[in-house]
Subunit: 365 residues, 2 copies
């Protein structure tokens, strides 16, 4: 289990500091360690389709000191969810970074990517990530959006365009900054002059009438979420931030469940949004006449109205098939859209790259 | 294990939504549940001195469905750290709220307090909690401070006083908002006209030269933290926020380890701070001639210089003794100071009350 490779400092998710577990080596092997002197079995369960390691829980081996350990890999670069399994029970390791996905608190593994380091914080001006609380009359609950303001926001009087960017099912408003590192991606794009300085808003993608319940499903979420979004969130953001409060400077995007929400909200509110992006989702059960309240009935009119319609997927989550489906539906109708695919599965490594492609295409004046 | 009492919705720490575990009843009994069909022992370990329940791990009982459960209490109102123990191994429950204390990720239990609900979010204007990133030349690392801006900050051009408020050992910059709910406490005080609208800054209380290491001890922290604080953090905050950048509008406070830091930083930089507050700490190994670079050598001059010197403690962590010590040292010297004690131990329930007493005393023009 000993390694001569250098241990990499990996920035934490909820803090700027790394946690002691797991140990990530320069050669992308990862050492999981866990104290459980009395347990008879300790495993690590790395989730997702693109781990390059076992999709089943992996046994750790008990050492003489009662500390269990296993070194696996090389592990595919990027972000991976995992949890520990102690005598059959799913547990979170308190000495590792935590995040929120799969409908619960999970551990997070970040393996630096030599080819795609664009999401790591660089020594450039940093925007702020703000926890923005607002009361929803529709749900009767306190809600929290995460709002990124670009570097220099507080030092000037400039107004900015807004990208509304939503998470997927089983995740939360924390995902795009905790897991996606969207703030650092935008910091670097802005510093390099590759995208317009913009505000980014990540709201909770769930909203139920009559008070907040536990995180729900897409069906529950679709209940009143679009109303909360359009009637409460957007006006609240326009009231509290220096936005360019018109459709040309407002885009709505999301991943997976959020892709469906972005399509539904954007295409039925073209008076509010001129940019729509669907990452790893959207356009299910498409009908040119009836879907999205008939938004695709007049493709020429839609083309004239939308400044950007963007679709993306990871190559390991059926990107080729999605691309063909789009060509067979929207393409055939003559709808203008941008397609982007990249190496990656249905995970945050894909979505980080999606944002890297999407952001520079938005708000080009 | 069944209860007829109403289940309370308890706002989450890292989100606005509650997690499913544990179940908190109106009569303050708390049901812990945990899935572990193959485990032979599951316990819950509630930490701290003021739980009103066992200080040792408490056994859960296995049900027929493989779910373990125990109902305890009534549990003392307020915030409690805890973790699960599965066959002897410390684990975090992924279906409960998480927080960062005791040098690691822990679970959090919040039992609503009928007498002290001042820390819960009310339907008043909310300030923002901002993650503010900055590069430290002294440590060579990216650092993150949490900055509270009061309601209306973005809508006006007003400048605000700043309270620097530090966490204790084994905790982090997240503590005052994740555990302490300082943002909601200030929201309500400001809405009620009980304290001046102010900016609050919580920095990481650890800083080591030559790059960031894992969270350290007070000794490690005292290494370069005061320099980072005075030479980097305060100028950065004054550059990025609309502060009233003079000593009359700047206070430094902290709890436990942070109390020591506040005393050390404040008393040796009276040109920068006119308010100093030490919660559950400070004034160790006091010598009137040499401590704090001789700040107490001339009590009359110090009284004329300081607008507020505040000490507080919980009655269950030796408040009476601390109070007597202060009377025997500073009191005897004729130093003006405020003393405040309250029901509570060395925990967040005490420190929430401390902030409630402290904030209204600051920045009275």
């Amino acid at each position: 289990m000993r390694s001569k490779s250098r241990v990499l400092p990996v920035a934490g998710i909820t803090s700027a500091q790394p946690q002691p577990h797991p140990i990530v080596h320069e050669d992308r092997r990862v050492a999981f360690v866990f104290d459980a002197p009395q347990a008879t079995s300790v495993k690590v369960f790395v989730r997702g389709d693109a781990t390059d390691i076992s999709k089943e829980p992996i046994d750790l081996v008990k050492g003489e000191n009662g500390q269990w350990a296993v070194t696996v890999g090389p592990v595919r670069p990027g972000f991976h969810y995992y949890n520990m399994v102690v005598d059959g029970a799913s547990c979170v390791d308190g000495q590792a970074e935590v995040c929120w996905g799969w409908g619960r608190v999970m551990n997070a593994l970040e393996v630096p990517d030599p080819d795609y380091g664009f999401y790591l914080p660089r020594d450039v001006p940093h925007g702020e990530v703000r926890l923005h609380y607002y009361h929803s009359a529709i749900t009767g609950a306190l809600r929290r959006a995460i709002v990124y303001t670009p570097p220099g926001y507080d030092q000037g009087r400039k107004r900015y365009p807004v990208l509304y960017l939503q998470h997927g099912a089983g995740e939360s408003e924390r995902g795009w900054t905790w897991h996606g590192k969207a703030n650092f991606i935008l910091d670097s794009l802005i510093a390099d002059g590759k995208c317009a300085p913009m505000i980014m808003v990540n709201d909770q993608g769930y909203a139920a009438e009559g008070g907040m319940k536990a995180f729900g499903t897409e069906e529950q979420g679709s209940n009143v979420f679009p109303r909360v979004f359009v009637e409460e969130l957007v006006p609240d953001v326009d009231a509290h931030y220096r936005t360019l409060a018109d459709r040309d400077h407002r885009a709505v995007a999301g991943l997976s469940m959020g892709a469906g929400q972005a399509m539904q909200i954007g295409l039925t509110h073209l008076d509010m949004f001129a940019g729509i992006a669907a990452m790893s989702g959207g356009l299910r059960r498409f009908d040119a006449q009836t879907s999205y309240e008939g938004a695709f009935r007049d493709p020429a009119a839609l083309n004239a109205r939308l400044r950007l319609l963007w679709f993306g997927a990871g190559q390991e989550e059926g990107a080729a098939q999605r691309k063909a489906e789009l060509e067979g539906t929207l393409g055939k109708l003559g709808v203008n859209y941008v397609w982007y695919d990249c190496i990656g599965a249905h995970d945050w490594n894909t979505w980080r790259k999606h944002l890297l492609d999407l952001a520079p295409r938005l708000f080009r004046d």
